[in-house]
Symmetry: C2
Subunit: 192 residues, 2 copies
DNA sequence: ACTCTAGCGGAGGCCAACCTCCGCTTCAAT
DNA sequence: ATTGAAGCGGAGGTTGGCCTCCGCTAGAGT
């Protein structure tokens, strides 16, 4: 529970209202939106989100004047959590540490696909998210590369997209997804 | 131009009307839909598709009573073309032949993402498509495996999803996409 | 306790896309 | 050439999500 170590964490904090009831509604809306986007994709009905959160549609629009606003905030909130996960100190092997974080990243991406494609890269917030993400996860790859455990002709962006792409696909079952992800990561790993 | 070598080819052929004007409209609608789906995703407006095709909305609904019908037919049409590409005889090395076909597959998937996610696996036609696809492309992988050029602890389905997932993601530029795809395929390749 | 203001909620107008329906047109079989 | 049936198209009713607006509620400072 450290204080906003990444710029992306500020994005949500800055929007959160001060009054108690308003803050509660804000949180409820964010939760409801996350859930609805995961379930129905990017074009989930805003009225449904308000209903899930137990607030009026007016309250939703006050907090998030546009659909895009809501997307951005949900997304930033997720990314902030992910960054904090990467920052937690670990005593694991370089490859293990990287691979464990990628698993976590993969888990988030399963539900975040819809949001990502809706914002489609044309957002300021996107830039901030990317920076925070790189700051948080990049060192994990670099450490693995220095240890000779990961190929050096790729960068962290390549790696994220590789994993994100695989997670965005539907598989027959989780076993197949894991198998495919493992094969792809075999292309990344060196030594061993 | 051989006669419907794969079951999937029958799907479209069976729907195509016999009267000359009707057949022309059917083809125009399919083209327009393919284009619209690639451009606007799965929720392209049907009225817009009819307009592109230069036919009335009534004609669209007569040929494709539901949105799903249209999706399925467009998708089946694409898959049929892809299967024919795999069946063309080649004198290339096993790995080269596989890899070249996967490139073609990748190209199709770029635009087909929307359709795939809309049908979301819950379609009879999907099953037929998969069978034809496996019949067409599976031998390419098997040949590479027998030649010791591809790992044997994966099947053709794993491979397709690996490629499909990567192609479904957005990249900074085509170079990054190619780089990432190459890394992933390094995980598949053996020997060399 | 009092006040005053930030915040609440949902009725209702707007609009865009869906889909039906039916009078007109065009094909092709005889 | 005739004719009847297959096909055409788009007007318009229907649905459902979007967003505004304003009278009411309840938090927080004094």
């Amino acid at each position: 529970m450290t204080a906003t170590p990444y710029p992306v964490s500020e994005i949500v904090a800055a929007r959160r209202p001060h009054r108690k009831d308003a803050a509660r509604n804000f949180d409820a809306l964010l939760d409801a939106a996350r859930e609805a986007f995961a379930e129905h994709g990017a074009d989930a009905a805003l009225e449904d989100i308000a209903r899930r959160a137990g607030v009026g549609i007016g309250t939703l629009y006050r907090n998030f004047p546009t659909r895009r606003d809501l997307f951005e905030t949900v997304y930033a909130d997720e990314v902030a959590a992910l960054c904090e996960a990467a920052a937690e100190p670990t005593d694991r092997e370089p490859w293990e540490a990287l691979s464990a974080w990628l698993d976590r990243f993969a888990g988030y991406m399963v539900t975040k696909r819809a949001v990502r494609e809706a914002l489609n890269g044309e957002s300021d917030i996107f830039q901030t998210c990317r920076e925070s993400m790189y700051a948080a996860g990049g060192p994990l790859l670099e450490r693995a590369q220095r240890a000779g455990a990961a190929r050096t002709d790729m960068d962290f962006g390549d790696l994220l997209r590789l994993v994100a792409g695989i997670m965005a696909t539907t598989f027959e079952d989780d076993a197949q997804r894991d198998r495919v992800l493992a094969i792809a990561l075999d292309g990344v790993r060196t030594g061993r």
